[in-house]
Symmetry: C4
Subunit: 380 residues, 4 copies
């Protein structure tokens, strides 16, 4: 520590700054097992769909389940505020860009109808699909039991910046151990980005951790508040916490990298950095089944005085199935994400995600995008 | 030190290269206290408005005071050179871009009318607002007493590059201890950018230090002279000087980061780097109350042979109140700067600025702007 | 190793990030000997043409041989799948951009006609030229003997990511020592990018190693799978393996940098990093003799569900001879690559490639391209 | 040294990557003495004009002398190849861009007329101005005596990459000690970029060293051959050699930073890195007196098979006097370069260049240009 400066500044890494080096042995991709285990449940696709109104409806959640992944339904958005969410979604999509923040502020100021919570869960469960729902800490005690009673299989408690300890004047903070006594389903908590917080959250007994603060394309947290950790570093640090917690407790708590994943390359780098699963937004907003109809937006309940969400026109690229498994007639890395992951495991010689964690070497090879093109500084 | 090279080159950091990592505890933003204390005076908004003609008039200074901040009136610009400054401001704004430097050179070659100094101060004081004024070192002995006699509450002595010691052939340099005997109000001095100079200035007994050389958007010092220090590093280094001086003397001299702050993110990073307050230019030039009417320009008295100021068309974004507190219907970080600061303190778990200094971790996560968009290298 | 992060991230370098520093002695370029030796064969041009359908046909291979280099014919592309490859090449070139991946998938799904393997080799040999052919590991045992029996002089076994050990469920992997017993010509194997793999491949007894994973312009491996190593670092690391293997065994196995070389500068940096020869794609796709007629594409057999190749419109710049030796009326570094290499050896004072390896100092001097222009960060 | 990689790669710095930090004392710019001493001759402007046909004619050389600087006349270009150089210059300027390399090749293939060497020198000397001329090593023995006999005051021996030792098959290399016996005027030699070469050249007894390989805007050496050293690093390293040579010999040999200087900022950074003077191209090509009439081109004698020069349209910005001393009505740093230098010395508290060498701190604060704008990464 230099006494003539106030703080040291540590180097961190984002997706565009790293690459994966190949291994000493290669295997055929078909031999790679990419299953994701969450407290005894197994998913053949280690992918969650973000709890965003533009991405997950009861219908798209069922389709997602059919392909082995887990979609998370936002319990504080249009699905539980409106009897007819489709009408409201159409209104958001049709809103002129300059008015869209105001539209958000109006639409999302409507109250949550508690009876709709159970109804949406049952819509998903009726098809036989697994159902995951997301709530923010302030609404967890009220909404989580309703969802679990209706059959929800996984509970996600999510806020922009989560810690195991939160202090508030008006409301007594959510305590995770109490929550675990209240609901009898796996609980995933996030988002966090640092070793200390990930470790502390794991010690409360929860079942999974969402990793990622500031990196998502529809999230403007970093510009508004300066807060954010590049996604490769936050995954690396939370993975170190998972290992440490496993050493101490014998319990393996998976971490889920959430935010900023756009291509197969980003997804593979997340796993190489230590992720057990990923949560994906934009690529699923771009599917034909997405309720956002080619648009995406970030915040379930935009703040009326400090909005950080925005609506992004993302277009359509293919079906959920194509995003996950192809076939693809494009070569830009946006379709067949899991084919890419298996190929990458093959290049590194890893038979499963855990071996990939051990064997995949990350290198610093920065790149930038200009003129809409991905320009790889270190790769030409 | 390598004997085969003449000097070592130290890494420095600017706003776009760092981010703030979240803390282990979070608090509700409403619990965060962001008061700024200057020699016994308390401001509820830790924000000063830059002493630029396009930003601070007596009228906008009063409005600024109403919202808890402190605007600094430039005593060497149109407000003291012209009986009717509005007319001159309009002329500058209407000047074609290719002639604007010449317009500046002509307009600012007019002499300062000493009677206008007191008149402008009284205009502000009549409303009950606090009044801060700025002078350059060469004019301090002449103008500062006039302003203080008229009731000015804070004196800012400002030049591009300030040290405690200046050598000149023609005029005897301003000596800060003498100045402090001459005026009985808090004195803020700047700009400086390094540990040594900040420490030496504090040792003269002054009450605050402006930090920042070269980083402002309307300042071309770095292109013209190569001189400049990125704003995060200059704040970090001057904050270290403040701590050292506090250890030695028991007196806490606040530092004010001045220059280059455009968004809530930049502002939050300034405080994370150790600032006690910030001085802001462009965002206030963009208010409806700004005398620049959507334009901004940098230099109070452009040099006739080496001009470094230029007029920038900055547009209008909202009122002073909206810049500071919202509400905002935009999500680009340019409105509700203090809401952003409180949110950021909440994320880091800091109850006040001093705790934020201790708890906020800065990370190196570079980003660049291309095609008018902010592209975050490390954040995707 | 920091226990609070999962992995360290190593700095790597690409062409645009490095430059060559001049030496203490200079020599006249005419004194520089740039011969390339491969298992007793000598080539006056240390340059191979990539085994891509858009670059190497029997006709262009002969022309390439006339100028001292070695073109590699792809034995798994249009030349061996179609009696009249020209017709198919014309179809690919004429395909609209949005349909080209589908065209690739259809065209390349045709089977290899084994009789065409020998016929293409004989076409080249009839002219007296040396003939090199390339196969993928899965087809090596079937196709390599056919080519060698027909007179092929050099065998290249190439896949995106190659190791000495590959595990597969369906087929028993290619074992390099067995291959060497089967064919009696020099064998070049690749691509690899790391010290360990290069060393292990050399230990199998093969005669040359192709270096480069992910860097080529027509290769999208990094975006799709995240995999890739910047070309300067992969060359530096594999060159270190070559030196180590030479120390252990006394056998010198040349390494060939393959991918991403566009200008004389890139080529010179490859040799400075330790290459004995280079394999070049795009610059030869841009020749008037190229079968791609101004287009280039990357994959011999595009994967039907995870395509990574794409067709790039590269235009035409001159003849093969001009690319290698000039004359040039352009100054962008794309013509007279070997004149550039000799000039560079002269600047460094190296009489041959081996001395250049020893004397050329590489420095980190990053640059970026914007607006189609090469902007050198460190060079202004 | 890591045994698993072939070479280490050292970080280097260019103009856009560094800035100058202010000093602990400031002085008034009028107190700053910027004289440049060359073997007993004193120049009030430490600036040389590049020996390029677009910049220095006998007429512009005289004008340059009037303002205290030293222009270098190229003895191997249009001035000595043509009786009427103006006609040829006009032809180059009028040539369409796509034919300009061919025009260069034709124009510059004409032989040097030896009688014109003396005539051009006398044209300059008649006005009373000091005269500097430049020759390449191959022509030095033939042309240098003619120029010196005609009255040339300074001889510049210049090639792209210069060392004290050069090996050639056809011609015996120029030996600098022999040259010094042959001519009785100060000799400046370059260009070099490294500590070893600068030291070795100084040891031959010459009087000044040109520093800079690859950085100039009209020089494409780095793209063509990969060779180049960023200008701040080459100046730092050659300045270290100057200090070392001074310690050993007691003789002070000034170094002249040549290439890539476009603004006052670049110029100030050159001196901060250790330059005693600078050689400038583009800014003087942009003067109304420049023979290039708004164009600039790099090479006196473009190579017929490996051309590295190109013609750049640089426009006109003002007179030679304005570039050096202003007045300026622009604030982009391109006019009043020496006013900027004196201002910068003032900020650092240096009374002369030698003190500036000691006191100016360089910091790493990278920036990039996009969309024609200078974007300072670290400065916002």
């Amino acid at each position: 520590m230099n006494a003539r400066t106030f703080k040291e500044v540590r180097r961190t890494y984002g997706f565009d700054e790293v690459a994966i080096a190949p291994g000493a042995i290669t295997i055929n991709p078909e031999l790679a097992d990419i299953d994701f285990n969450l407290d005894g449940m197994t998913f053949s696709a280690p992918v969650m769909a973000s709890a965003m109104d533009a991405i997950v409806s009861p219908e798209s959640a069922v389709e997602f389940d059919r392909h082995g992944g887990l979609a998370v339904l936002n319990l504080e958005g249009v699905q539980t505020k409106y009897d007819d969410p489709e009408e409201v979604l159409a209104e958001i999509v049709a809103s002129p860009q300059e008015e869209v923040t105001k539209t958000f502020q109006r639409v999302y100021s409507a109250p949550i109808k508690e009876d709709l919570v159970g109804e949406r869960v049952r819509q998903i469960k009726q098809s036989g699909a697994k159902c995951a729902v997301s709530v923010t800490p302030a609404n967890t005690k009220r909404l989580a039991p309703l969802a679990v009673d209706a059959g929800a299989d996984v509970l996600v408690v999510q806020s922009t910046v989560t810690t195991a300890r939160h202090k508030s004047r008006s409301i007594r903070g959510l305590r995770l151990p109490e929550l675990l006594e209240m609901v009898n389903v796996p609980v995933i908590v996030g988002n966090c980005a640092t070793y200390d917080v990930a470790l502390e959250i794991m010690e409360t007994g929860i079942h999974g951790v969402l990793v990622g603060i500031g990196p998502g394309a529809a999230c403007t947290t970093r510009e508004v508040t300066g807060m954010g950790v590049p996604q490769v570093t936050s995954t690396l640090d939370c993975a170190a916490a998972r290992e440490e917690y496993y050493r101490r407790s014998g319990r393996y708590v998976p971490i889920v990298t959430d935010g900023g994943i756009r291509t197969g390359g980003d997804l593979c780098k997340s796993f190489a950095a230590g992720a057990d699963a990923v949560m994906i937004g934009t690529p699923f907003a771009q599917t034909t089944e997405a309720p956002g109809q080619g648009c995406n937006w970030g915040m379930a309940s935009p703040d009326p005085i400090l909005p950080r969400g925005t609506r992004v026109n993302v277009g359509m690229r293919g079906s959920i199935k194509q995003v996950l498994y192809g076939p693809s007639s494009k070569s830009d890395g946006t379709l067949n994400l899991l084919g890419a992951l298996k190929t990458c495991l093959g290049y590194v010689g890893a038979f499963n995600i855990r071996e990939f964690h051990q064997k995949a070497e990350l290198i610093f090879a920065p790149s930038i995008k200009t003129e809409g093109k991905f320009y790889q500084l270190g790769m030409n």
